[in-house]
Amino acid sequence: MSNATTKYYPDETELLECCRNGEQSAFTEIVRRYKSRVASTISGMLGKGDYIDDIGQEVFIRFFNGVNTFRGESSVGTYITRIAINLSLNEIKRRNIRRFLSFDGMLEEGHDIKDESSLHIINEKCEIVQKSIQKLNAKYRTVLVLRLIDDYSTEETAKILDIPVGTVLSRLSRAQKMLKEILEPYKLNYD
């Protein structure tokens, strides 16, 4: 990777080309531009924790490794978000396997938001909602995070996930219905 001074890249094509040529400043610019979006996607999918940095690093490493094969059919942002989603889904699978093998799930149940005693600890509405999002099935969680947390349009969400817009809409409806059911016992005051 060649060193370069800080450079301004107004055009994404040029930025991508410089990345392909191994310009360090172009990579720094990519990380700078998209790090907030990546952090938001990962934390939306997995909840807050120290692992966000590790997965975030892996996202940019994957981008770096695949930049020469990236054909530019989608924007860099869409491509990076797709990597972040895929790595988050892998992490969810890993967690499910770990829970299955080591009874971690039983331990986590101790902090379950259904536990009345834990409610006074997690008294923030946003935290309850965030924990509830983690309870959604991965495919519903993904559309919810992209649409409502990352603020992508339904079309962009469809593009990132490579699914039809109609599927995004039906998954979104389902996700909101499930979230509403999960949140029902808390009788949250939304006003």
Partner: protein, 139 residues
Amino acid sequence: MIKKEIEQLIYESFDRSLSQKEGLILREALRSSKELRTLQKQIGAIRRTVSEIPKSEFKPFFETRMMGILKNRSGQPAGIAELITLSFSRVAIAASIVLVILTTYNIQMGTSGLKNNLLGYSKPNIENAFDPTLQFIQK
């Protein structure tokens, strides 16, 4: 339109623009049902709360750390362990699945004790008991 379809329209109205006909149906349904109005309000509120969840950020100096990692990795060939893992992970998974299937099959089919069934040993019959070559095989 049945209630379920109206509810679906309420959910979708937040993410797409409804057609004139759909809009009319929804407005009419909302006007006449308090339950549907409450649902619309609830969904709107949940969506607002979800979008208000504070955004996470990486720890400070993420770019610097990232560039350090990328610098170290660029030009370096993948380690042997990494290559082996990449090449054989699928084979290992397939072999594990086959092993589980065979073990399950042996347990299901056998009648001569769990250990023997797991290893696929068959129950010795009278011919084997008196077979003079068997002792060499067992050794």
